[in-house]
Amino acid sequence: MIDIIYRIGHFVLITVFSMALGLLFMGIARKIVARIQKRYGPPVYQPYLDVLKLFGKDAITHGFIFDFGAIMALGGVIATLFFIPLGSWQLYSMEGTVILVIYLLAIASLGMAMGTVGSGNPQASVGISRALMQMLGYELPYLVILFALIYRYQTSSVWGLMQAQAGSFLNWNLFAYPLMAAVAFVVLIGMMGKKPFDSMIAPSEIGSGPVVESGGKYLGMLLLQKSITIIIELALFVNLFLGGAENILIFTFKMLIVWVLATMFGSLFPRFRIEDGIKFFWKWPLGIAILQALYIII
C-alpha cells in the first residue's frame, strides 16, 4: 500500500515538475524572441497565468471526439514522460525505450490530430496534414541517428546511452559525433515546431492550425501538453548528446541552454514552405545522418 502511494506521489511529482518547467521555458522563449525583435515582451511567468486563466474559462466542444482527443494528447505525453531519465530521476527504465519514446509521442500527436480535426474546421485539417508531412521530414534523420547510436553502444535504453558517455565531457556525443549532434539539433527545432518549420501553425495563414478551435480548458490542456513535450524532447537531446547529468539541477541547466539556443536559431529564419521543409530535411540532415551512420557501422 505504502509502495503504491509512494509511486503515485512520484507520478504526480514528475508530471507537475515537468509542466511547471515547460511553462517556464515557454515564458523565457517569449522574452528572448521579444528582445531579438526589439520588444519588451511579456513577463516570464505569463504562461502560468495563461494556463490558470484558461482552466477557469467557459469552453465549447464539438462532440466526444474533441474531448477524447484532448485527453489522449495530454495522457500520451504524460505516459512518455515516465520513461525519460531526468537527471537521476527515472520512474521506469525499460531497455527498449529510445524507439518507444518516439512512438509514444505519436500517441499524443494522434490524439491532438484526431480531436482538432474532429472539430470540423478545415483549417485544423490543413494544419494537421502539414504537421504529419513535416513529421515524415524530421523523424527520418532522427531515427537514422538513433539507429547509429544504438548500433554503436549496443543498447537501446536512454539510460544506457547516457551511461555510455560517462567520464570526461569529451565522451559526450556532442564532441564524439559533432555532425550527428548538429543534425539532432536541427531536428529538435523541427520537432518543436519553431520558426523555419512552423508552417503547421502559421497563425497568419491558417488561424494557428491545429489549435484553431480550442479554447478554455482544451487550449489549457494543449498548452500543458506542449510544455511536457518540450521537456521530453529537450531531455532526450541532453541525454543522448550532452551526457545527461547526475542531478536534476545540472540537467535543467543543460536543457535550458539547448532551449535558449534553439529559440534564438528559430527566431532568425523565415518560414519554410511545407515541401521545401521536407526537401531540406531529406537533403541535409538525412544526408549527414546517413554519412555518419555509415561511418559508425563500417
Binding site: G63, I71, P122, V126, E139, M221
Partner: protein, 621 residues
Amino acid sequence: MLTNYIFIPIAAAFIAYILNKRNRKAGAVITALVSAYLLLSLTALYGRWDITQSFNLSLMGYKIDFLLAVNPLSWLFAVMTAAISILIALFSINSQENFKFSSVFNLNFLIIIGSMIGIVFARDFLTLFIFWELMTWTSFYLISAGKKKMAGKAAYRYIILSAGAAYAFLMASIFIFQQTGSFAFDSAAEFLVANSPAQSIMLLLVISLPFIVKAGIFPLHIWVKDAHGNAPKEFSPFLSGMMLKIGIYGMIVVFYQLSFFKIIENTIAYRGLPLLSYLFALLGAVTIITGTILAIRQEDMKKLVAYSSISQMGYIIIGIAIATPLGFSGSMLHLMNHLIFKSTIFLALAAVIYRTGTTKMYEMGGLIFRMPLTFAAYLTAIIALAGIPPTNGFISKWVIYQALIEKGYLFLAIAAFFGSIASFMYVFKPLSTVFLGQLKPQHQNIKEVPLLMKIPMLILILVIVLFGVFPGIQMNIINQISGYLGIETVNYTLYSIQGANGAWNSLLIFNIFSAGFIIALLLFSFAKKSKLVGLLDTYSSGEYITDAESYHYAYQYYRPFDRLFDNLAAKSLTDFYETLTKNLVRSGEGLRRALAAGKLQNYALYSVLLFVILAAVGWII
C-alpha cells in the same frame, strides 16, 4: 483425415451455392458454420505434428505421390484462414442482402478456404500446384464479381500474372521430377543441395515466382491495387489479410524447406548475409517505399489500404530474408498482426461502403457521429498499423527494427522507418476525411451497421489489444515454427520479448499508458464543463458558411507531399507492363499475317510439318 479439412469446405461450397439461391443469407451462414468447424477441429490438431497422409497414382508408368502433412507452420496458416473466414462470413450475412452475386461469392469463398488449407498441408509440388491453381481461379471469379466496371480488368491482370508465374513453377517442378522421380519437397531439397548451385538457384527462383506475385512484392505488385480496390467489399479483408500471406508461406517453404538459404550460404555476402538474400530484403525495402508513397496519393480508400498492404508485406519479406532469429520472429509476428489489423480496417471500410455506397474519400465526412463503433474499430486498427504502442503492430515492428539494428543494415532500416512514419500519413487520411470533419447533408440519416456486422469488428478490436498486451501467446507458436525450421528461438514471456539490444515489456507499457491517461482524464473532468456546439459553429476567419460540403478539407489531403513524387508516380510500372503487352500483341499480329493469312492449304501444310517434326523427335529420342 487431413483431407477432411480440404474437402469439407469444397463440398459445402456447392451446398451453399444451391441453398443461397433460395435464401440470400443461407450461403454466408453455411460459410460461417464450416469455418467454425474447421477452426475447432484444427485446434484439436494442435501439437500432433506427426500426422501425414498420402495417395498414390500410377500414370503412364510414372508413380505419383500426393503427400499431405501438418506442421506448426501450416497449422498456423490454416488456423488463421479459418478464423478470419468466420468473421468475414458473419459480417457478410447482412451485408450481402443486395449483392447480386452472393451465391457465387459463397461458392468461391468456400472453395478458396479449402484450397488454401490444401496448399499449406501439401508436401509435394503437384498437390501444391493443384490447390494453388484452384485458389487462383476461384479468387479470379471473386474479384471480377466486384461492382465496379474496372473489376473485370483488374481480375484479368491478376489472373495473367498469377497463371504465368504458376506455369513457370510447374515447369521447374517437372524438371526436378525428371531428375528425382518424385514431386515431394524432401527429395527435391536433397537433389537441389547436391546439384550445381547455379542451376538450383535458378530453379528455386522460378519456383518462388508465383509466391512473389501473390505476396505483391515489387516489381510484381501491380495487380494488388486494382484487385483489392475492386473486389467485393467482403472479400477485400480476406484478399489482403490472408491471400497475400499465402505468398509469404510459399517463400518460407522455398527458403527453408527447399533449402534456398542452405544453397546460397557460401556465396558472396554483404555484412554476413548472402547477396541473394540481401537482394530479397532490398526488394522488400523497395516494396515498402513504393507502397507507402502510392498509398499517400490515393483518393479511393480501398486502394489506399491496398497499397498499404503492399508496403506492410515489405516488412515481412525483409524479416524473413535477413534470416536472423529476431528477423524471422518479427516477420511472423507482423504476419499475424497484419492479418488482424488489416482485416479490421477493411471490415470497417466495408461497413462504411455498406451504408454510403461509395469508396471515394472526399464524398464522405463526419461519419463518426453516425457510426461510432465502426470508427472505434478503424481507429484501433490504424493505431496498430502505424505501430503505436500499446497495440500489437508496434511489437512486431519493434522486433524487426531490433533485428535490423543488430546487424547494422542501414538502408533496410531507413526503408522500414520511412514506411512506419509515413504510415501515420496514409492511415490518418481516411480517419480525417471519412470519419471526422463535416457530415454531408446526404449522410444525415445514416445509421450504424446491424449487430451481426458489429460483432466481427468488436472481436477484432479485442484481439488487437489482447495481442498488444500479451505477445507471448503468439510467440509460443512462432518459437515452435522456428524450432521446426531449425532457426534459433527468441526468449520471451507472456508479456515481454527479449531483443538484441533491449527488451520489450508490453504489460508495463499498457499500465503506464493507462496511468497517464487517467491523470489527463482527472484534469479534464475537474475543469469546468463545456458547452456542446455544432460542427458548422466554428472559426471561419469571418467567412459566412453556408453548407457543410464546401467546409470539409478532404480532396488531395497531402498535395505538397505528393508534389515531391509526381514525376516518380507518373512513371508507373503498370504502363511499362502495358507497353510490353501491346508490343507483344502487335508482333503476334504481324506473325499471324505473315503465316496464316486465311489460306486453308497453309494450315494443312503446318499440320503435316508439325506431325513430321514430332515423329522425327520421337524417333530420335
